[in-house]
Amino acid sequence: MSNEHIDEVSGISTTGHEWDGIRELNNPLPRWWVITFYVTIAWAAAYTIAYPAWPMLSGATKGVLGYSSRNEVKHELAAAEAAKVKFVTAIQDKTVAEISADDALREFAVAAGAATFKVNCVQCHGSGAQGSKGFPNLNDDDWLWGGKADEIRQTITHGIRFTSDSDTRQSEMPAFADVITPEQIAQVSAYVASLSGKVNDGSLVGPGAKVFADNCAACHGADAKGNREFGAPNLTDAIWLYGPGETAIAEQVRSPKHGVMPAWLGRLGDTKVKELAVYVHSLGGGE
């Protein structure tokens, strides 16, 4: 084997590798390329020492830098929390009305409240807080238990008819099927419907007013505008939790349905409840 051989055609030396007279020209890679190649190998080796890399029987080598992606996430989350801490402490210290009055705080609380809302509230109230039958629309200006930011906060904190919270909003309309006759139910339904619209049989309205005064005015008020002390809805407006019209009203008079909202304080904590209250208040119907 001669490694001194020079190829006659190209004038380039050969490597000494020969196959049936075919020789390999010695055209080495450029030096910078080779150096770069060795540097990458060295880099790879150093990397596996510095960072978690080699699989072992249980887990992998930890790497001398002590890096882990879980730690990185932890740091990033901590940094995010640290960035929020100024607002969060301010929210802890202030009432919801004060938070609503401060532009920067309100913006933060609305954003935070919206996030909390999307996780915890949309299941009943809908993603746009628009509600559905039996679940109140939080965008409108009709509030069973009060629409001031503080009242909303109270509702979120303790819930409605949530028996395991002693401060919960509590009220229950009796089932009037056992108390008044079906005829009276038809009359009172016609009367209530007439307060905010037309009814089919106007002759029922007069007697219905009497039935209402005897049975309903105690909670809903003589003028039927409701009473927030008992969560008694205003029956003269355009908003009907269980649907408008005589049929739906009669149904609710006969055997009322009662929604339950859980108390959220234990699960979310006071700060998040305040943020939620500010958010719900900002939806447009807040008082």
Binding site: D103, S127, G128, N139, D140, N234, A238, S282
Partner: protein, 519 residues
């Protein structure tokens, strides 16, 4: 006047010449460009001073924009997404101005190249300017061409070490200054300079300096002509930009050939002798390591230093300047045809000269009207059209804008009195660095009133709010319409904003949705 044999013949090899072009894998042969002097060298010094001056000084220019905007004349404020250029302020959505400028730069390059060849490469390209600067340092430290060649060949000793270390140290200083100047375009220069000096600047500032120092040092000091020949795409594109009327640096072999060191002897022996005395001055000064006498070639950046070198020699010999000159291909071909009797003979210098020895009348010379060709008019037209369009758009652009986003969920809300409410996210863009009082009003939608979250006013058809300087103000606006006046499930109306202290206004057409039963 010198006799041609007295002109020193330089021992210069065109290392990148097409005749001797190296295979790509071969190690680079170093080029030791000799210092040139002459018109073009003077012009290049001037261009270098101007371009380096612009680069280093621009960030330090001040421009008063009032208390609500930075006072740096040219500033790319990436953190706040604003670009300031003297009296112009650009928001990210106005990036088309930058796109337009880039198009103008491209077409301008076409225009310049089609008229005067690769003038960009030869004079203004940062690579050329910085290599020139690095060569100044190299010459100052190590001496001119011959001294540098000698030093390169010399064994390592104390002197060589000192010279090399000084050279590279100065190069590195220039490189650091280059990288350092770059970052000042992105932040307030005096503040950033103090921060960088005290070590309190952002890590990205140091990283940028480091990267640009490395590239400047490598490209300007170590790689030099290789950047142009191997890395830059422009030499490849130029072929399409040049035509037979473009000026390029040309060796006029119609008067130079046959080149001869001993013209008198040759003439006496009955041989032909051209003007080229084969002194290699053009090769020695070439920073690209080529021999221009091989003709136009990819490596030539048309820096015109060979013209200066050759003109100097011609002056000494008492011959006309311009053996190497800016010439167009058509002029060259015409003269070549003259010198070769239409290609019938080899170059015969006698054919282009009168009996008295001056140039024959029929010789083609560059005439400025050559610049005005359909092609250059088209480039100039496109360039000006874009420029004028940008200028017009810049002078008439709105600095108060309005964007409205209708709430989709819920699309509408029924209120207790039966009226319908729609929610909108209204974005007011106050694009000047002064606070403005903006009046927001409803146009159309009879009976409707609105109120905005955070604006503590009773519902009305209009309200005013203060927009912060140079900021977007986002408002949540609720519009409600009483039940009797709703005319359809989707009514269109307009939000209108007006600057109360000025004349600017803007409108946005929005939709008001209502349920069918509320009609």
């Amino acid at each position: 006047m010198l006799d041609q044999t007295q002109v020193e013949r330089l021992d210069a090899e065109a290392v990148n010449s097409a005749r001797t072009r190296q295979p790509l894998y071969a190690a680079r042969k170093k080029i030791f460009p000799k210092r040139a002097s002459g018109r073009f060298r003077q012009f290049k010094w001037l261009v270098m001073a101007v371009t380096l001056g612009i680069y280093y000084l621009t960030p330090w220019l001040r421009w008063n924009r009032g208390p609500f905007a930075p006072d740096q004349a040219v500033l790319l404020d990436l953190a706040n997404r604003r670009f300031y250029f003297f009296f112009v302020e650009i928001w990210p959505q106005e990036f088309y101005y930058v796109a337009g400028l880039l198009m103008m730069a491209g077409i301008g390059l076409f225009l310049v190249t089609s008229t005067v060849g690769r003038a960009w490469c030869g004079y203004a390209c940062p690579q050329t300017v910085w290599v020139d600067l690095f060569l100044v340092v190299e010459r100052a430290v190590e001496g001119d061409r011959n001294a540098r060649i000698k030093l390169e060949a010399a064994p390592w000793n104390a002197r060589k070490l000192v010279l090399r270390i000084s050279k590279h140290a100065i190069w590195l200083l220039i490189a650091v200054a280059t990288g350092g100047a770059w970052i000042f375009y992105f932040a307030d220069a005096p503040t950033l300079a103090a921060n960088v000096a005290s070590g309190t600047a952002a890590p990205v500032a140091y990283l940028t300096i480091l990267v640009l120092t490395a590239t400047t040092y490598t490209f300007g000091g170590l790689m030099r002509e290789q950047v142009c020949t191997y890395m830059c795409p422009w030499p490849r594109i130029q072929a399409a930009m040049l035509d037979e009327s473009s000026l390029t640096v040309t060796y006029n072999d119609w008067r130079g050939e046959p080149r001869s060191r001993h013209a008198k002897k040759a003439v006496a022996a009955g041989q032909l002798a051209g003007d080229c005395v084969d002194c290699n001055a053009c090769v020695a000064v070439c920073p690209m390591g080529i021999d221009i006498r091989d003709g136009q070639q990819l490596e030539c950046i048309t820096c015109a230093l060979c013209i200066d070198a050759c003109d100097g020699v011609m002056d000494k010999l008492g011959r006309e300047r311009g053996l190497i000159a800016y010439a167009t291909l058509s002029d060259y071909n015409a003269n070549m045809s003259l010198a070769t009797a239409g290609g019938a003979t080899p170059v015969n210098p006698a054919l282009i000269r009168t009996a008295e020895g001056s140039f024959a009348d029929g010789l083609a010379h560059f005439h400025p009207r050559n610049i005005f060709r359909p092609r250059t008019f088209i480039y100039l037209g496109a360039w000006s059209a874009i420029g004028l369009a940008l200028l017009y758009s810049l002078l008439t652009r709105e600095r108060l804008e309005l964007n409205v986003l209708h709430d989709r969920n819920p699309q509408f809300v029924t209120l207790s009195d039966g009226s319908i409410r729609n929610g909108y996210t209204v974005k007011l863009l106050n694009m000047i660095p002064e606070p403005r009082t903006i009046e927001v009003s409803l146009q159309g939608l009879p009976g409707a009133e609105m109120n905005a979250v955070g604006v503590d006013l009773p519902p009305s058809r209009s309200f005013t709010t203060v927009a912060d300087p140079d900021r977007l103000k986002m408002l949540k606006v609720f519009v409600r319409q009483p039940p009797g006046q709703i005319t359809g499930i989707a009514q269109t109306f307009k939000f209108r904003i007006k600057d109360q202290g000025g004349v600017e206004s803007a409108e946005y057409t929005a939709t008001f949705n209502a349920p069918e039963i509320a009609k």
